[in-house]
Symmetry: C2
Subunit: 196 residues, 2 copies
């Protein structure tokens, strides 16, 4: 198990070495090539994913084929299609590796068993979901309060990895604008930079 | 304690009558007039709110004074400014009673103590947050995937209470459009209705 995952666990709950060991054994590893999908629409999401290395994004595809990117997740991040995971219904999103990625996955059946067996895992689950909830609420507030340009500036400030590692058309789709509009925003910002 | 709250608890966890009794005693009740605020920007949110009756909305105010409504919550719903509640930092949103409302509030300090004392409450917390997470993810997906008109149609279909009880300018602010644009959408839909 990667050291970061160990740290995350230790920060949140106090497990014995034996408990950590049995937790580790529940993960299975998947290697994804760049462009490969972890989940496609219509599939039921039965796992929680920990990104050991690489980068994934999730997106929705509208009837006209347009992609709407929800979020990007990098090494040491967690993700699942929570709607499908919780309800057990087929999902509507695609989860795609946009870099070659190593994903550690944990089955929902195992997680639910851990919750029943050990209240510490129940706490781990609650704390994890609280963090996810915060992140989603922030994304929500950005849709409500910010223009695409403000969202791009915020992205550069708080999540430089996205700007460094993700293709521009995916970033545009994340901001909810056309790639041409993102190019215009970037040019404007460059001019402001060189003018100041 | 209202019967609905009893039911919600019973559906999620198995508490003894004594445990339910001690849980009930932790709530304090607040009566809000229409237009009164439960929380304003700069305040730290230290409570979880259960709406016994009435309706609240939360919103952000931009520099130019424009309001951006995040969500509406009616009787038997739960809400808190989760960002401020979790981080302990001053919040940036206003929570306003848009109908005369009776709010039952539970202090975070009491909730944290319950989590420590009884794993059943830990579970209750996890399940509550899971539900909140789902709702916020859905709102998020609607921003990504739907036009304001589609969002309005979805609102009529899935949450008729909002259309029935909430003022049009608040609904427009929730949809992220100007009140005039909402009026145009409503007229267009009425014409389609009468034409079909």
């Amino acid at each position: 198990m990667p050291e970061v995952l160990h740290q995350q666990l230790r920060q949140m709950i106090r497990l014995s070495e034996a408990e950590i060991e049995s937790f580790i054994r529940l993960f299975t590893i998947r290697h994804l090539k760049k462009g490969e999908n972890l989940l496609i629409p219509g599939e039921i999401c039965r796992h929680l994913f920990f990104i050991r290395s690489g980068c994934i994004r999730y997106y929705y595809t509208s009837d006209n084929g347009e992609e709407h990117t929800g979020q990007f997740f990098f090494e040491n991040g967690w993700y699942t299609d929570f709607e499908s995971y919780l309800t057990g219904k087929p999902g509507t999103q695609t989860i795609e590796a946009i870099e070659a990625s190593v994903i550690m996955q944990l089955a929902k059946t195992d997680i639910d068993r851990l919750y029943d067996e050990n209240p510490l895992f129940e706490r781990f689950g609650r704390l994890m979901i609280e963090q996810g909830f915060l992140a989603v609420k922030r994304r929500n507030a950005s849709f409500l309060n910010e223009s695409p340009e403000e969202r791009y500036l915020e992205l550069m400030r708080t999540r430089p990895k996205v700007v460094e590692r993700v293709a521009l058309h995916h970033i545009a789709s994340y901001l909810g604008i056309k790639p041409e509009s993102l190019s215009r925003i970037r040019k404007r910002l460059q001019m402001q930079d060189s003018g100041s």
